[in-house]
Amino acid sequence: MKVQVDQSKCQGHNRCYAIAPELFDVDDLGNAFAIGDGVVEPHLAEKARLAVANCPEYAISIVEE
């Protein structure tokens, strides 16, 4: 399982970074990106789902592999 942030949709609400700092980081402009290659360890799967469900811009998606 991987998380992805669609940079064209992200507006920097920072909900993802607050919910799951293990998975998301923010740049100098306050826009989010997935840490590393976005791989979600099983113990963080719930946090990943919450980040998706709380992003006001529908910018985050989960890719199952």
Binding site: G12, L29, P56, E57
Partner: protein, 413 residues
């Protein structure tokens, strides 16, 4: 408390579907019931007031307009008796008088980018100790009293002090700032000449502060803006002044309202108050839920050209209100939308807007709100609305308690 400002040019509202007025005090007092009723009848209310204004109340419609910069301009974001199109000297789209909030694409993005780094989460986090200290000082000042006003003695001072420090403006001018904010956001229904006078006073004050920063540069946001460039040119003084006015106006009533409404909730819901005192780990979801349920900010747009919006014949230069607070209470988008659930984990609220104008100060606003609630609860773990006193709500697009007398039943220390 249900009379209009005596200076208003309009009378009391007779019908919320066809003659609404968001500056009628009964609007903010009864907002949740009004939106709920409108959602069931017509999801887009209309009024002839302010030269023609529309009010969509569902999440879908608010979302659609916020994203549609082709038909809706941000040239005017505060509905008032004066329209941008009435002012021959007004700075036209896509720049507008207070970039980036009054700007449209493509200029908007470039004006916004200048300010983003100063408000990124990592820059803003550095302010936490100072904000906490400020809250503690305010609490120390009211420690002994049995009844305190959580709005006027506490909430309102926090954003005023923080933004004064960021801009490098005299902290003792706080009272003045609140006056300007009132003129811009609440005194919207005055006769147009009176409104123009209020703006002139604000412009003159800002010009003086900017000149002082040109003469005596220092390390603050005002000098940062004076040194900033757009398209390889320094920002015009007009742009600098407009952005400063925006930062001053955008952060004060809004954050004050968010803190006030959250404390109002805790004063009226002892179970939630106790849960938060006993289990501070609930704070993050509680804060997001207060932002959803009591979202303080409704924005506005101006219709660019005549446009049929879902059967509503909008005319060029009509106002459209964007009630993010109503979107946040739409039962189609949120389960149990009218219940305040401080452990709500799935909460895709739009308190800070949607799309390209997402509140630039949202990281700061969240920090101020969280620290204010934490410190108030730590000092006063038990409080309730003061019996025999009245809570007074704001009027206009920013909703929150302006007077919030609470009785302190337990204090630490």
């Amino acid at each position: 408390m249900t009379t209009l400002d005596e200076k208003s040019i309009y009378g009391p509202v007779t019908n919320w579907q066809s003659d609404f007025d968001h500056a009628d005090p009964s609007y903010n007092e009864n907002a949740h019931a009004i939106w709920s009723e409108l959602r069931g009848t017509c999801p887009v209310a209309h009024t002839e007031r302010y030269g023609g204004t529309w009010l969509p109340v569902t999440h879908d419609l608010v979302h659609e307009i916020a994203y549609d910069t082709e038909h809706f301009s941000s040239r005017g974001v505060v509905v008032a008796t004066v329209k941008p199109s009435d002012l021959p000297d007004a700075i036209p789209a896509p720049i507008g008088g207070a970039p980036p909030i009054t700007s449209d694409p493509p200029f908007h993005q470039d004006a916004r980018r200048i300010l983003l780094p100063a408000f990124s989460p990592k820059t803003i986090d550095l302010w936490e100790p100072e904000i906490r200290l400020l809250c503690r000082e305010l609490i120390a000042d009211m420690k002994a009293a049995d009844v305190v006003d959580a709005a006027t003695q506490f909430a309102q001072h926090i954003p005023v002090n923080v933004i004064a420090r960021m801009l490098g403006f005299p902290p003792e001018d706080g009272e003045k700032f609140r006056g300007f904010v009132h003129d811009v956001l609440e005194a919207i229904n005055l006769e147009p000449g009176k409104r123009a006078e209020a703006f002139m006073a604000l412009d003159a004050y800002i010009a003086k502060q900017v000149q002082d920063h040109i003469d005596n540069p220092r390390d603050d946001l005002t000098n940062f803006l004076l040194n900033a460039k757009i398209y390889d040119q320094p920002l015009s003084l007009q742009h600098v002044g407009g952005s400063i006015i925006l930062l001053l106006i955008a952060g004060i009533d809004t954050t004050w309202s968010a803190i006030g409404s959250s404390l109002w909730h805790l004063a009226t819901n002892p179970v939630d108050r106790r849960r938060l005192v006993d289990n501070p780990a609930l704070m993050p979801t509680a804060i997001e839920e207060f932002l959803r349920a009591y979202a303080p900010v409704t924005m506005a747009r101006v219709v660019k050209d005549d446009y049929n919006f879902h059967g509503n014949e909008m005319k060029q230069n009509d106002w459209v209100l964007l009630p993010f607070p109503a979107a946040n209470r739409d039962p189609k988008e949120f389960e149990n939308a009218d219940q305040v659930l401080i452990d709500r984990e799935v909460n895709r609220h739009a308190a800070f807007g949607l799309g390209i104008h997402r509140c630039l100060g949202s990281n700061l606003a969240r920090l101020e709100l969280r620290v204010a609630v934490e410190e108030f609860l730590a000092a006063f773990p038990d409080f309730e609305l003061a019996p025999d006193e009245v809570v007074k709500w704001s009027v206009g697009q920013i909703r929150g308690p302006r007077e919030l007398p609470v009785r302190i039943n337990a204090r630490t220390l």
